[in-house]
Amino acid sequence: MVRLSTNELCIGYGSRSIVKMLSVEIPDKKITTIIGANGCGKSTLLKAMTRIIPHQSGAVILDGKNILTENTKTLAKKMAILPQTPEAVSGLTVGELVSYGRHPYQRGFGRLTKKDYEVIDWALEVTGTAEFKCRPVDALSGGQRQRVWIAMALAQETELIFLDEPTTYLDLAHQLEVLELLQKLNVEQSRTIIMVLHDINQAARFADYIIALKDGQIVKAGNCEEVIHPEVLKQVFQIDAEIGRDPRTNKPMCITYNLLKGEANREKKMDSPRTYALAYH
């Protein structure tokens, strides 16, 4: 029995439905990655799983309880969320920002206890941001800032950590740095990591479990061998992908791809992705 799952989840704004009847189980103590084209509902799904946005029907179940009926502070001790590109808060120091991760454990005016300080220092240490503790957050580089936000999420001491495109706007080295930090947290501390990623090769390299979405529905969910596959990528991204092997990690890897020309146009007329996948052959 996994801790987190969704059951026939429907999410939408007004009459526009974004995620449709989605049921999925998130494996415990693994790295799960949600991939899909722009507008497929991957961020929406992440936000609904973390109660940031409401869902229309169905349920998100954590430890056997619907997250909407659970006390929000109790949830904040179980799951931490790193939103997509959080706004830089001018003037706040790194230490101050990370200390807000203790909010779910505080009462009243919020004086930090000795335990709080220990956790904050530990979170700064693990993410390699201790040296910036007294610096303003907005004076850091993008990669450093992202690690500081991860430190704040860690200070929440939750087993589940959600991240919405944690590598966006980072250069290649910093992207890897952030992903390796998450991998370390997963391996060394058995944290369950659930994140939205843009790059399918990064998903293949770091994820134990990949959920591929299209139009708010799961096309395929499984390990990287099952999901990073030409047939799946064709449906999810409308690309004709050449899948090889990463010579260093031996994980599947998209070496090159072409747009399925004409498919994009035909998409407007045909509803089912399967129909035009057949038409292409």
């Binding site: 502070k73 959080p86 001018s90 003037g91 200390s99 005016f109 300080y117």
Partner: protein, 336 residues
């Protein structure tokens, strides 16, 4: 040893310095004025039952006026600080976002239709007006996606304010009470009495106390709503309470001083410059700095051209406008 200590210890000194400055300004304000008074007169007014004209004037005219300046300055500044925190809009100010204009329109309505309304009723009308003004502005913002961008909200605030002020003027002219209304427009603390203060001060005190209690929540909320939810904050009730506090503070301020922009914009930025981004520190610092600023502006208004009054609204505007432009310039990406 710790972050907390390094930040709070100097904060106590900063706040103490602010309070000392406030006391100094207060004494200066009591001495200075159209009528000739000395420090001795002020001393006597406080320490003796002397009923000389100087002591009486200080006790019954200057003192309530200084008190009013202090509470109004604090109320507008704290309400501005909360607005800036909730909306993450560095240009938020009760005067710029339609609250004070709404309160003034409500005040005109109350004066005309319920002449027997009394001071308490006027104050309640101001709360209702402030709420209506704010709802109009944020309603316009909600009409379209991205409508809460700082400049859009300020534009909506400017147009709603113009409308509501025109409405108030219209009522004034039609019912021939424009003299009473324009006394308010001039933003005067002239003629504030102890009995008016008795009505207003409890509201403002309560408002500031509640905002202090919620200041930590406000800091979390000012990071981003998603972050606040993730950290386990119940954002809807917190925002509702803070919104009510803004309305009570701005409405109460208008009931005394009339329409007054810029104090709520300027002071929180000054406070932030002194104490940083934590609203647990910004709110008390804003209250004290706002009181000092308002008191100084009012005293300046009284003495600049004595025995004639220079409208305090004009003085605040002269100080506030360059500051507004500076924030727009500095805010760059944050504002647009």
């Amino acid at each position: 040893m710790t972050q907390e200590n390094r930040h709070t210890t100097p904060f106590v000194y900063k706040l103490a310095a602010g309070i000392l400055l406030l006391i100094g300004t207060c004494i200066a304000a009591l001495i200075l004025g159209a009528a000739d008074t000395s420090f001795l007169d002020v001393w006597l007014a406080f320490t003796s039952e002397a009923s000389g004209s100087a002591s009486e004037m200080i006790r019954e005219i200057r003192l309530p006026r200084e008190m009013a300046a202090i509470v109004v300055g604090a109320a507008l500044s704290v309400s501005g600080a909360i607005m800036q925190g909730i909306t993450r809009n560095p240009l938020a100010d009760p005067g710029l976002l339609g609250l004070t204009a709404g309160a003034k329109a409500a005040l005109a309505v109350a004066t005309v239709w319920i002449p027997s309304v009394g001071y308490f009723g006027t104050t309640v009308a101001c709360f209702a007006g402030a709420a209506a003004g704010a709802l109009l502005v944020f309603g316009i913002g909600a009409l379209r996606k991205g409508g809460f961008a700082p400049f859009r909200i300020v534009l909506a605030g400017a147009s709603v304010s113009a409308l509501l002020l025109a409405f108030a003027e219209g009522i004034g002219i039609y019912y021939k009470i424009s003299k009473e209304i324009s006394m308010w427009t001039a933003g005067g603390l002239i003629g504030t009495t102890w009995s008016q203060l008795q009505v207003i001060v409890p509201f403002i005190t309560a408002g500031i106390l509640v905002s202090l209690l919620l200041s930590r929540q406000l800091t979390i909320l000012s990071l981003s709503e998603e972050v606040a939810v993730g950290l386990g904050q119940k954002i809807v009730p917190i925002k509702m309470i803070l919104f009510a506090v803004i309305i009570v503070l701005a409405g109460a301020a208008v009931a005394i001083v009339g329409n007054l922009a810029f104090i709520g914009l300027l002071v929180p930025h000054v406070a932030r410059g002194i104490v940083g981004e934590d609203y647990r520190l910004i709110i008390p610092m804003s209250a004290v700095s706002g009181a000092v600023l308002m008191l100084a502006a009012d005293t300046l208004g009284r003495t600049l051209h004595a025995p004639y009054e220079t409208p305090v609204a004009a003085i605040v505007a002269i100080m506030g406008l360059p500051f507004f432009l500076w924030i727009v310039r500095k805010g760059g990406s944050a504002v647009s």
